[in-house]
Amino acid sequence: MNSIILRTGTRALIPVFLFVALMTLWRGHNDPGGGFIGGLLAAICVALIEKAFGVAQARRWLILPPMMIAGIGLSCAILSGLWGALANGWFLSSVWPLYANVDGKWEGLAAGSILLFDSGVFLVVVGVVSAILFALEEAGVPESRKDEP
């Protein structure tokens, strides 16, 4: 699609969507939100770039291949589970290294194994949605699938 309105709009909207996506991921600890919804919001960025500038540009924007991003995300989720198992003895139990109860008050940064898990989910969603999007976009143009053996 070649539309100057879409391209200009996309440039302006990308930072907004990314910010909202990351905020949703962060607030998912105690409020509605989390990795899955955040990941879908971030995938909107990919979809917009893909529609405005083409698949090649969207791939460049992601830097890594989409399935690689999903793989890294899955690894993050597994690592957070193992972290809980090492620290507390229970797989997937929560660990808060920067957050402690000092004199009856909870202080510090509420980031721990759960944020790692949620970030993993975030990456899996971004990766898989982008992979599906690119595959559908390229399905009609076989010669663009150069990365296949």
């Binding site: 399935m67 999903a70 793989g71 797989f91 053996p149």
Partner: protein, 494 residues
């Protein structure tokens, strides 16, 4: 952690294989290594359960019934162990069969994801978590059906997913209803809360919805059409894996829910299951008799054999349940082996259509013998494992004086023999229609090793049947009086 490793190992392997997508050799040998690791982990779990009884762990440290519990009694542990055996056999076979293209499209990663789903389904103690593992299995198996990218397999995959999605909706609705009635999803907790409430309408409706869902997953009559439509289209490695595990997860879920949560003494539940299983046996074996394609015949026989297992559950005596469990173990080994042999025959003769091939007995007598072991076992010829499996089910139905059911079970066994001898005559005995020179090459070692290994297991189960019957008896006792299971879940700390 002993309960976590059986699905964590495949999950880690799947993540690594996605990351190392372009390294084909890493993927091939990595899937063998991952399967061996899974086998070791499942063996450790089996030994632990055999010595200590049911074990449970609360994931994330949240106590039951609030968190998700993983629990293994002897049935679960044994199912996970057999999953490990099949995983190793299929991974070795895949070294030869899976080509570069399928590997790049994610065959190996999807197999690991499927194994994670299967092991998770066997080990979870939470009915909604069971749904999640079913979804993982469904997504992974859909991917495996389409990785080879042919029109035929896409057609099979659409039918497969369409029918399975309906079953999944029924599953979710049933679980929602159950949660609305009891306020819990933990299966051990459900078992206690539903005591004396089995006849309530909402409970009965949820029971029927779950029976439909698991019945469809297990390919029971009348919702079996997805299986013959899809099982012959993907690579042999994939269809052997499917035939061994997917329907059996459905049977496992039926056994688990209809002993632990629902009461089989309710006439509606029991009658539906009983006549559904009889119809499944008959329809499956008649469907097989009409086929002329190697893997399609085997696919219909899965349906017929599922009927025997569910019949064992529906008869609801300890002896019948023992038979059903023994049947599950025997069937997984035999059926995976038959599919692998179908692939070996295709490799040598070039086709799976019975009229187009032949002459394998003259070319490779070894493969002919290796085929006879699982084929005769499937038909129930002594002293192979299938004889004991059928014997246990038939004698349990005779004990209950269900003459008609015993007669049907025996007749279906006879028709199974007919199908197996048809394959024998067409594939092995008659000369190849294009002459003897049409059979080229020898069997690769990677194909032969799993076929021989599974054949030895079939013979062993047959000859040492007493040992396996004793184990199945312990498993059946744990299921029929689930106090140890419930105590392990609701009292578990570590």
């Amino acid at each position: 952690m002993i309960l976590v490793w059986p699905f964590l190992i495949p999950l880690i392997s799947a993540a690594l294989m996605v990351l190392l997508r372009s390294r084909e050799n890493v993927q091939r040998w990595g899937s063998v290594a991952a399967a061996v690791a899974l086998l070791i982990a499942s063996l450790a779990l089996l030994v632990r359960v055999l010595s200590e009884g049911p074990v449970a762990v609360q994931v994330g440290g949240w106590p039951a019934p609030f968190g998700i519990t993983l629990v293994a009694d002897l049935l679960s542990a044994a199912m996970v162990f057999i999953t490990g055996i099949v995983a190793v056999a299929v991974a070795i076979y895949g070294l030869e069969e899976i080509d570069r293209r399928e590997s790049w499209h994610g065959h190996h990663a999807l197999v690991q994801a499927l194994l994670a789903g299967v092991c998770g389904a066997f080990l979870t103690g939470d009915i909604f978590n069971l749904y999640v593992w079913f979804e993982i299995m469904l997504i992974a198996s859909f991917g495996l059906l389409v990785v080879n990218g042919t029109r035929k397999s896409a057609d099979g995959a659409v039918k497969y997913v369409g029918l399975n999605l309906i079953a999944t909706f029924a599953f979710l609705s049933g679980v929602g209803l159950l949660y609305g009635v009891t306020g819990t999803l933990n299966m051990a907790d459900l078992s206690q809360r539903l005591e004396g409430r089995q006849e309530e309408v909402a409970v009965l409706v949820s029971a029927m919805l779950l029976m439909f869902a698991f019945g469809a997953k297990a390919a029971m009559f009348p919702v079996f059409n997805w299986l013959p439509a899809s099982y012959h289209t993907p690579s042999v490695t994939t269809s052997a894996l499917f035939s061994a595990l997917l329907t059996k997860v459905g049977v496992y879920a039926l056994i688990r829910t209809f002993t632990l949560i629902y009461d089989l003494d309710v006439p509606l539940v029991r009658g539906t299951l009983l006549w559904g299983s009889v119809a499944t046996m008959v329809v499956g074996v008649l469907g097989a008799a009409a086929q002329n394609h190697f893997r399609r015949i085997l696919g219909f026989h899965i349906i017929s054999q599922i009927g025997y297992m569910v019949l064992g559950l529906a008869l609801a005596t300890p002896a019948a349940l023992l038979g059903a469990i023994f049947y599950l173990f025997h069937h997984i080994i035999v059926k995976a082996n038959l599919f692998l042999i179908a692939g070996a025959a295709r490799k040598l003769t070039g086709s799976e259509d019975l009229p187009k091939i032949g002459g394998l007995y003259a070319a490779t007598p070894l493969l002919a013998v290796l085929f006879l072991i699982p084929a005769l076992s499937l038909a129930g010829i002594p002293p192979l494992s299938g004889f004991w499996a059928k014997f246990l089910i038939v004698s349990a139905s005779l004990d209950m004086q269900s003459w008609f059911i015993a007669f049907v079970a025996l007749a279906v066994g006879l028709l199974t023999l007919y199908s197996m001898s048809k394959i024998w005559l067409e594939v092995f005995w008659k000369p190849h229609p294009d002459g003897d020179q049409a059979i080229e090459g020898t069997l690769p070692v990677a194909m032969l090793v799993p076929i021989v290994g599974l054949g030895i297991m079939t013979v062993t189960i047959g000859l040492a049947a007493g040992l396996f019957v004793d184990a199945a008896m312990v498993a059946a006792e744990q299921i029929l009086s689930p106090h140890a299971y419930i105590d392990a879940v609701l009292g578990a700390r570590q």
